[in-house]
Symmetry: C2
């Protein structure tokens, strides 16, 4: 039997994969499991998207253009211009989810063996795409003690070598919920410019900023227009993760032309998803205001509930719908498994994502978990109650 | 400005990319252009697929399982069993088109720098995925003089080195339309077994076999069950290229488990496409009989018309809906461009795909083109008439 490739062996499994059988077993026992482990929002998809599908009047579901349907690209570039990102429809490619935008950016800009710097905790799938592209992730650790602010710029600069080709940031951040300030982004811009690096900016959570804080796109940073590659997704914006539609956006024509060749090899992005995504651009502002109100309430409730638990520390994130929380436990992986395998409170339990999977440096995040506040307040209350009881009962408490 | 990656530079552009602006220009001049260059069928998508979309009753378009919705995987494994491929729903992954199945197979089974052997002419996008995966395509030439039959097995065996990890075949073949015989497949099986290679079998055109010829899946070859990875797509089967749903199927559990890690990194295959594809499995046999009748008629018409043109040779393919044709021209790239740029007959012209892009060996296919018979008979007649006139008028005729 022929063997598996080295990259296949290196590919990380998803941080929660090991836990899935325990969650399934808990459900088989009739236990209610609150899923705080994944970023699958419960927010309804805009009706304009669903209506567009219900009114579909195609005879043949054809390939779209490899760069995406022109009608969608035009409307999407209008969306970007409406938020001050001045691009036209030839400066973006429609991708199969934000995932493919990340992969195309790495394949287009970085050679195998070269390096990409990223603050950690990081979006875990960057590791997978880096393995696929043969690229080395170089982490710069941010700390819960600073609420996961950007590490000092000297720390980042110290990691730059002759092999460094890019920096990737996720803003607002998955998994920490951290929203970068204008000052932090300016510091990133300065080193990107100084060392002529690419800056990949993953802004899938742009619409999820709280407390009146505003999101600053890397596309607006002056003097590095040809260095910035925006990686985007409609998954969270319109609560349509399943359509698998994202975008790669850049003023760098060489990057667009090269990424298009990768796009041509896979023929086209999903056609039905593009129909839904195009219709979603008409979503009225009230939808986002309502979503923002809801997430703000959830976050406020959750952060307070967590910080009331003895030994727990939760920063108050300004964006996305995640937070990385410090727990008074010996090992968050064990704790997460124990909650599913052995614990119940009123026949309920909680699934969280151990944070170790969001660090690239081995050994970090051992007593941290990522929590996604994607449940309604009532479920969130029950989940927090169960989590508080679990922390009291857990034998590995420290 | 930071530079583009080496892989980005190496990525081949699509074989017809250069011609697209000329086609657009011809249309701007008011000319009718018959597209024989792409495999976008005009056959209607089954109504069951479109109805499933029109009746969608989701509130949230959520991520599906990374391996694909369980309901779809179960139904799809039933489809495979119905054609004698004995697998269950854990022996397949739903992929984003057949494209992603090809990429996952390469990433999972072959290391960068290692080799994959394939008969040429080959599906041009294998080149792109090979660049992405860092894998070297090693072609074994098949010849139009033999109607593109499998090259002698000694020819293939001679190409095997310490770096060879896999053979990839496309059956029925895109671009040649060739359908492998039981005997040819047995010979491939023997060397796969002898050298313990992977056999990737791209069977996207399984349903398109003519003259009563039957398709033999590589999944049925005895003694190499753990070596075979079936790469599949619903694009052509149900005329729904735009849904971007394919599958990677294998009895090799290590391959499934490893490919699943690549699948997890991109989260999930398209959700709406899976709905359409799942509903398509109910398509009644009459649909396929009608499609088969139609393509047989088109093929018969086209092959005859081509072979009537002086200096032209067209094999009579038994599968898919392509044929590679030899033309009496100095350079098929130039001829294809000339037809779009300078030629018209009754204000009509034809777009074909020069075959050079389907060869991996430089210099081959110079007087061949790939023709897709995806137009109705009437359009096909006009296209053949225009092509015959073009061959008479072309200054580079030999």
């Amino acid at each position: 039997m022929p063997s598996i490739s080295e990259k296949g062996m290196l590919m990380p499994a998803s941080p929660i994969r090991k836990l899935v059988p325990y969650a399934e077993e808990a459900k088989r026992k009739g236990r209610k499991v609150y899923h705080l482990n994944i970023g699958q929002p419960d927010v309804p998809t805009p009706s304009s998207a669903l209506d567009a599908l219900r009114n579909i009047n195609l005879k043949v579901i054809e390939y779209s253009h490899s760069a995406g349907n022109e009608s969608y690209r035009k409307k999407l570039s209008g969306y970007y211009r409406s938020i001050g990102i001045n691009i036209d429809h030839n400066e973006l490619l429609v991708t199969t989810g934000g995932s493919e935008a990340i992969l195309f950016a790495m394949m287009t800009c970085i050679n195998p063996g070269e390096e990409i710097i990223t603050p950690e905790p990081l979006y875990a799938n960057y590791n997978g795409f880096a393995v696929t592209a043969g690229v080395k992730i170089v982490p710069v650790t941010s700390y819960i003690e600073n609420d996961f602010a950007l590490p000092p710029i000297e720390e980042i600069e110290r990691k730059i070598t002759a092999k460094t080709r890019a920096i990737i940031i996720c803003n607002p951040n998955n998994p920490t919920g951290y929203l970068y300030s204008a000052d932090e982004l300016d510091r990133i811009r300065d080193i990107v410019k100084k060392h002529d690096l690419y800056l990949f900016s993953d802004e899938a959570y742009r619409e999820f900023c709280y407390d009146g804080a505003s999101h600053i796109s890397a596309m607006k940073l002056e003097g590095i227009e040809k260095n910035v590659v925006l990686l985007d997704s409609v998954s969270k914006r319109y609560s349509e993760c399943g359509v698998r539609i994202g975008a790669l956006v850049t003023k760098n024509k060489d990057v667009i032309q090269t990424a298009l060749k990768f796009a041509q090899s896979r023929l086209s992005p999903p056609g039905l998803g593009q129909i839904a995504a195009e219709a979603s651009i008409d979503t009225p502002p009230e939808y986002f205001m309502e979503v923002n109100r809801e997430y703000t309430a959830r976050r406020n409730y959750m952060v307070e509930a967590l910080n009331r638990m003895p030994g727990v520390y939760c920063p108050k994130p300004k964006g996305a719908f995640y937070t990385v929380v410090k727990l008074p436990v010996d090992d968050a992986d064990k704790f997460a498994q124990w909650m599913l395998e052995e614990f119940e409170y009123k026949n309920q339990t909680v699934m969280v994502a151990p944070a170790s999977g969001f660090y690239s440096t081995p050994g970090l995040g051992k007593n941290e978990v990522r929590i996604a506040y994607v449940l309604n307040i009532n479920d969130l209350k029950n989940a927090m109650e169960a989590l508080a009881e679990a922390l009291k009962a857990y034998p590995g408490r420290i």
